[in-house]
């Protein structure tokens, strides 16, 4: 059987040359993402903003959104939004946070129940009061920051500080772009989004670390090779792995996106953007070339990388085409 080779064995693509394009492009994209975030804002879900969310299913026939809207507007609950959710009998009702503390949120949800009565099934009801939503937001933010620093410290121990910093810059870029994407698409930003962001962070770092591992290995082996070549060699020799892993993760994510149902649709969409569209690009085009600017090569020539190589098992250099 002839096996599939997505990346030819002899690939020697000059990725690093593109840094003069990709770094500015990424910088512009990041700024654009921040502008989107500032302009459109994140569409905070009830987890972070407080309020109520009800997923209802009409019992007879498709939901009449107009009629529902009229009924709910009559309740005087302020901002009420309706959205078709999956099947045409399913409607998502969002009610903004009510004045008057914890009790008022419960009363708002009760009013909706009273108004719609038994004509619908309440498939999901979520009510988040003001004190909880405030905490969830600060925990979520804290979580992303903690995870970022935890990983930074780990990388700093395992690699040189330049690698840790490079990975951090690259992955902040991922998070910023993903948040920009969520602003643009006005995807609900809730606890699940934090989970998605942290997973993107994890995946993207996973990718970056694989390339960094190789850079470190090749740096130790070829002490005189220019940094650009080292980076290109590292990226090229891990390229097949990057592509194959990328395809498998994409397959898994697409299955979630298409078949996972509306409940994890947002999660899958954010993940697909972050992992499939951004993550791998970042590892190759941002995380690697940025090492040049962080002075990894310079430090090497100054002797910082002259640490004795652990017994090398006399393996010939892993360069495409040597065999």
């Amino acid at each position: 059987m002839r096996l599939l080779r997505l990346v030819p064995d002899e690939t020697k693509f000059d990725f690093i040359r593109f840094r003069r394009v990709t770094l500015p492009v990424s910088a512009v994209m990041s700024i654009l993402a921040v502008v989107l975030y500032l302009g459109l804002g994140l569409n905070f879900g009830i987890d972070f903003r407080g309020g109520s969310l009800m997923e209802i299913q009409t019992k007879d026939g498709p939901a009449d959104l107009e009629q529902l809207r009229t009924t709910l507007d009559g309740l005087g609950l302020g901002e009420v939004s309706l959205q078709q959710f999956g099947a045409d009998t399913d409607v998502l009702i969002r009610i903004g946070q009510q004045e008057g503390g914890e009790q008022a949120q419960q009363e708002a949800a009760n009013k909706v129940r009273a108004a719609l009565g038994d004509s619908v099934d309440y498939r999901r009801v979520e009510v988040v009061g003001p004190s909880v939503s405030g905490e969830l937001l600060s925990y979520g933010t804290l979580g992303v920051i903690l995870a970022t620093f935890g990983i930074l410290i780990y990388l700093w121990f395992r690699f040189e500080w330049q690698f840790a910093l490079g990975a951090m810059i690259a992955n902040t870029h991922d998070i910023v772009l993903t948040i920009g994407f969520m602003s643009l698409m006005q995807i609900d930003f809730d606890l699940t989004s934090i989970a998605a962001l942290l997973t993107i962070l994890g995946y993207s770092l996973n990718d970056t670390v694989v390339i960094y591992d190789r850079i470190r290995e090749i740096l130790r082996r070829y002490k005189k090779m220019p940094m650009e070549e080292i980076l290109n060699l590292s990226i090229n020799s891990t390229l097949s792995r990057s592509v194959i892993t990328h395809v498998t993760v994409t397959l898994a994510l697409l299955a979630l996106l298409i078949f996972g149902g509306p409940a994890i649709h947002n999660f899958a969409m954010v993940m697909t953007f972050g992992v499939v569209l951004v993550g791998t690009y970042t590892s190759i085009f941002i995380a690697s070339p940025i090492l040049i600017y962080l002075g990894v090569g310079v430090a090497r020539r100054a002797g910082a990388f002259e640490a004795p190589v652990a017994e090398d098992k006399a393996s010939p250099p892993v360069v495409a085409g040597q065999g």
């Binding site: 096996l3 979580g143 989970a195 997973t199 770092l205 670390v209 979630l256 994890i264």
Partner: protein, 534 residues
């Protein structure tokens, strides 16, 4: 790298088999699980509320209300001790956490201060002898004394109230006959209640939202409610309303004849004459004696049964009630009578509880989520399996076996830990399949490189494993850090994601280091390959 010593081999196989064995009960129908001998694993994965349906409620002890209540009690105590000591005052005022007394004669200040300080109680009951903090501090400033409730004291009271509330909440929920509710303290002043498979969270909330403080008091007949509303109620009475629509005002004496604490039983039933739903109750000895004395002294007068400051009925005492039992009738529906008896049996909450977060999923949505989640998981897995075979052939099959063992072990660990599987958790499993495949890809790509570099098949395979494992470890630890953080900050479904993702990373590293290697080692020994087919 390819050689496994016998003990190591046995250990690896044992871990993998035990891990998978723990997953087996999930595949068996519920009726079979009962037949599993106790020495075999029989626990299954717990489905999260988002999958099996149910209610998640976060209740908060109303600390400001407790503070106000404490301040009121302190004011009454201060008034009492000063009266007992015959110390004249010109005014006692209180706010949320302090009481101010203006003495008629500033010369009394020292004596008054001593009396008031005598009211302070050591925080934490003083069992340990470690804490010397008091729940109240008093100071004199000329003829004015200020008694302030300390933060330590309030915190301790809130803590005690939460402990007590958890017990009462548990008793109330147990009465609903639901299976395996989870009730736990969360933070300083919150209680997490998770009740699976409940159809009607409204009833649950109604049950938990009531303090259920029951008191029996006399109705003040010295003036009518109308008069009291127009002027003011007598000093020892207050105006309370009934639970009817529209509410009817009553003038009720403040003195409590008997309270709900003295109840030993309450049962719903029907009045024998009117066939109306009622709640019949029985007092303990203490309550029975006091109730008998009170009813004896007040025959012909109305008394009121008050629940959470609402008059639920105000019957006339026709004859002394000596037997220590009685009934409450208040135009209840059957369900109301039932719920009231539950509340009375379970006891009153020490402080009001507020629902600060509610997440309820109906059973229908849960079913939908399971089937959609599983569909996505199957399709995702099949696609990955096919892709791996297309890319790596025989080694792809090896990778798929390793990944299958990996997924079985995830479910094994989830079952053994009694961890919860949520919808995002299923997504976590799907993503783990992606990552688990990646570890095999790293190994195989490295083998391909080593072959290209001119190594012999066996040496290339050895070097491939050797070099890829360090990378696998590094890349998975970074991902694991993200999962761990998510576990600590997340709740409910998100935590479920962190759990499966985190466990998945660990099993992935395990299978990559052992299972994949073992399979390849067996193949190498069996085939003695001249070239590596990847």
């Amino acid at each position: 790298m390819l050689h496994f010593s016998r003990p190591k081999l046995i250990l690896v196989l044992a871990i993998a088999l035990i891990g998978m064995a723990f997953a087996v009960p999930n595949l068996l129908p519920a009726s079979w699980r009962g037949a599993i001998p106790s020495w075999l694993p029989s626990s299954t994965v717990v489905l999260g509320l988002d999958l099996q349906g149910g209610s998640h409620l976060l209740l908060e002890v109303d600390a400001p209300a407790m503070r106000r209540e404490r301040a009121t009690i302190l004011r009454d105590d201060v008034r009492r001790v000063l009266r007992e000591a015959r110390i004249g005052t010109t005014g006692i005022t209180s706010n949320d956490n302090s009481v101010q007394v203006r003495l008629r004669d500033p010369a009394d200040a020292e004596q008054a201060l001593e009396r008031i300080r005598g009211l302070a109680v050591q925080v934490g009951g003083g069992f340990t002898g470690v804490s010397t903090a008091m729940d109240m501090a008093a100071e004199a400033n000329g003829g004015t004394i200020t008694a302030t409730l300390t933060e330590d004291g309030l915190r301790e009271r809130v803590r005690a109230a939460v402990d007590q509330s958890i017990e009462i909440v548990r008793r109330r929920i147990d009465q609903l006959g639901t299976t395996e509710p989870n009730i736990a303290r969360q933070g300083a002043n919150r209680i997490l209640v998770q009740v699976p498979g409940l159809d009607d969270p409204a009833r649950l909330k109604a049950l938990l939202g009531q303090t259920a403080k029951l008191t029996f008091r006399l109705v003040d007949t010295s003036m009518s409610a109308q008069q009291a509303l127009q002027t003011r109620p007598p000093a020892d009475a207050s105006i309370l309303y009934s639970n009817e629509e529209p509410p009817v005002p009553y003038v009720i004496k403040n003195e409590v004849l008997v309270s709900g604490e003295d109840l030993i039983d309450a049962q719903p039933g029907f009045d024998q004459r009117t066939r109306e739903p009622i709640v019949s109750f029985r007092f303990n000895a203490n309550g029975a004696t006091r109730f008998a004395a009170a009813t004896q002294a007040n025959v012909g007068r109305p008394f009121a049964i008050i629940l959470d400051n609402q008059v639920i009925s105000a019957p006339r005492i026709n004859e002394p009630i000596l037997g220590g039992s009685g009934q409450i009738s208040g135009q209840f529906t059957v369900e109301e009578a039932n719920d009231l008896s539950i509340l009375l049996r379970a006891g009153a909450l020490p402080a009001p509880l507020q629902v600060v977060e509610e997440r309820t999923v109906g059973p229908g949505l849960g079913q939908d989520s399971i089937s959609k989640g599983l569909t996505a998981a199957y399709i995702g897995s099949i696609l990955v399996v096919i892709f791996m075979i297309v890319t790596y052939g025989l080694f792809g099959v090896f990778a798929n076996i390793a990944v299958a063992i990996n997924v079985a072990m995830i479910f094994g660990v989830l079952s053994a830990l009694g961890a919860t599987l949520t919808l995002p958790g299923i997504a976590g499993v799907v993503l783990t399949v992606g990552i688990a495949v990646d570890s095999n890809v790293l190994i195989y790509e490295r083998i391909r490189e080593e072959v290209r570099a001119g190594r012999s098949p066996i040496s290339a395979i050895e070097a491939g494993f050797d070099r890829a494992l360090a990378t696998i470890l590094d890349s998975n630890i970074t991902t694991f850090i993200a999962a761990a953080v998510l576990f600590f900050i997340g709740t409910g479904p998100v935590r479920g994601f962190a759990i499966t993702f985190g466990i998945g990373i660990i099993t992935t590293v395990f299978t990559a280091f052992t299972v994949t290697r073992l399979i390849v080692a067996w193949w190498v020994r069996w085939k003695r390959p001249k070239h590596v087919p990847i």
